[in-house]
Amino acid sequence: MHAVVAIKQVPDTSNVRIDPETGTLIREGVPAIVNPYDLHAVEAAVQLKERVGGGQVTVITMGPPKAAEALIECIEQGADRAILISDRKFGGADTLATSYVLARAIETINAELPVDIILFGKQAIDGDTAQVGPGVATRLNIPLITYAIAIEEFDLEARTAIVHRRVEQGIEVLQTSLPVLLTVEKEIAPVRHAPLPRLIAAARYQPEVWSATAPVVFDPQQIGLKGSPTVVGKAFTPEQRSGGEVISVADLGLNAVVARALAVIEQAHVRNLQPETGVVS
């Protein structure tokens, strides 16, 4: 079994701050982490390998040299091989260009050792686009199952899998041919605490580094800024809706405050006030 997992290093957005003067992101001191969903994807791949009794898990990322840290964390979690696709020429890629690079890389990996399953996170928490996975599946022309929460069956001989997928109405149980590309929710597999020997092995691991020209020659028209149809016109801190008055129970007393609240409720034109309980509109 050969699984490829695409992972991304992201700033821990729970720590992100914006410089109020310049409106730019302060990356300073913001820890970089493996996109949380991607760690679950790695775990799912490792578990699948254990389930079918062997195989290889290859992790890939396109990013700056620092992203090697994120790959090493995946090695700790049980991945066997890690590839960092890194080149200044990839800079400024949007999802279309990113999916091109990842798809080409996966094709190359597949030529060396055929790939049975490709796993992506549901979305990257820095951009929240959830587009790269669908883009790669489309480019590779293989089935796509997004929001996967479980792999019920994985049959390498019949070359089929049964995958559960979360949708608005409930859970879809889908059968697919292999290879398939999944984008995964956290439920797909809880991330385990990696054993110490793996951490020690990973600390010495050096990911392979691929550039824009070796070992794969990427089409310069399709990578980086050039290959990206979208550009950021401007970035700004969200404009806040401005607030109204703030009154206090301590100052005005409860009755006066409630009277004011009622006036505001009235202003909202909530007409369906009913004597008993209201019915949801």
Binding site: V257, I265, A268, V279
Partner: protein
């Protein structure tokens, strides 16, 4: 081969239906498309409606502003699957070359949009909160939050067409339907066979009907300040009296006091009710992005410096356990007397 005059800038909206129920976000997008069309000279608003035996839904799209509906009817489109939908819609896009293509950022829409954009080789901006036409360049300016809602970015797609964007439900207002409006239906042939679809749905495990706070007119939302699950009974009482539903902030959901389907915010739902009552919610940016579109916000918080007050129509500094019971009495009293001036 272009069947139409190539110069007409088309603004397309994907009409999402499942089991013949149209997702309301499609109508919100038609409303947005109408507004964009006003700023894009000569443009037309059109809808794309794939599915099986859904032609009778087309008139609804006219009511919300489409002048033409492309109906793609095929058995392989009966239930949503990525491949047949992506192929069918992409073919249509290649044929008519719309200028702008809007899709709801639902589970289905997000699955589909990336595939279409890749197939036609264009740019896609996800989860937009604002759409406009850049007056100088006559292109779509799609604004979206990034980095946990801390930053907004306006994304442009200068040279590739269509300019695609997905928009979350309830971010844009629901337009009023025009029941007399009609338009043209184009039936689009689609000949994919079931054998060519690699993914089959074996079954659907239906979730219990989840409360849908996104479309409630009144939401009474509680935060960590409510103190525990019991307090939500009080909020429920007020919500009932106002004909609304109870919503919650994330810590409340994390603590298990409320179901995740009630969560408002960046990782929860976006809501835009007529009235949003925030009780014991501090108003962190991740919460505000989900509710700042409400018409009227009433906030109750013991802390005069709570950030929620910065956006509240009326802020009340006080204990929710004093204010809400008093409010319930008043609301119920008025409703009962019938002399309510509400």
């Amino acid at each position: 081969m272009n069947a139409e005059q190539p110069v007409v800038p088309r603004i397309w909206v994907f009409v999402e239906q499942q089991e013949r129920q149209v997702h309301p976000v499609s109508w919100e997008l038609l409303g947005a498309a109408k507004r964009l069309s006003a700023d894009l000279p000569g443009s037309v608003v059109e809808a794309v409606l794939p599915g099986h035996q859904i032609a009778d839904l087309a008139p609804q799209a006219f009511h919300y502003g489409a002048s033409r509906v492309y109906v793609i009817d095929s058995p392989v489109l009966e239930i949503y699957r990525n491949l047949p939908y992506a192929v069918a819609v992409s073919q249509l896009v290649m044929q008519y070359r719309p200028e702008i293509f809007l899709i709801g950022a639902t589970t289905l829409g997000r699955d589909l949009a990336g595939s279409i954009a890749t197939r036609v080789g264009t740019g896609l901006t996800a989860d937009c909160t604002e759409l406009a036409i850049d007056p100088a360049q006559h292109i779509l300016a799609a604004t979206r939050p990034t980095f946990g809602g801390n930053l907004m970015a306006t994304i442009l797609c200068r040279r590739h067409r269509p300019q695609m964007a997905t928009v979350r439900p309830r971010v844009l207002p629901m337009p009023d339907p025009m029941p007399d409006a009609t338009g043209e239906v184009i039936n689009v042939p689609f000949d994919m066979r079931e054998e060519d679809v690699p993914v089959k749905r074996l079954r659907l495990i239906r979730a219990e009907e989840q409360p849908n706070i996104e479309y409630a007119d009144v939401l009474v939302a509680g935060g960590r300040g409510v103190g525990g699950p019991e307090g939500f009974a009080l909020l429920e009482e007020l919500a009932n009296a106002l004909g609304g539903m109870v919503a919650a902030s994330r810590p409340v959901v994390d603590a298990g006091w409320m179901d995740a389907s009630r969560q408002v915010g960046q990782t929860g739902k976006t809501v835009r009710p007529k009235l949003y009552i925030a009780a014991g919610i501090s108003g962190a940016v991740q919460h505000r992005v989900g509710m700042s579109g409400a018409d009227v916000i009433l906030a109750i918080n013991t802390d005069p410096n709570a950030p929620i007050f910065q956006i509240a129509t009326l802020g009340i500094v006080g204990d929710l356990y004093d204010v809400i019971p008093a409010l319930i009495r008043q609301v119920k009293g008025q409703a009962q007397d019938g002399h309510a001036h509400l």
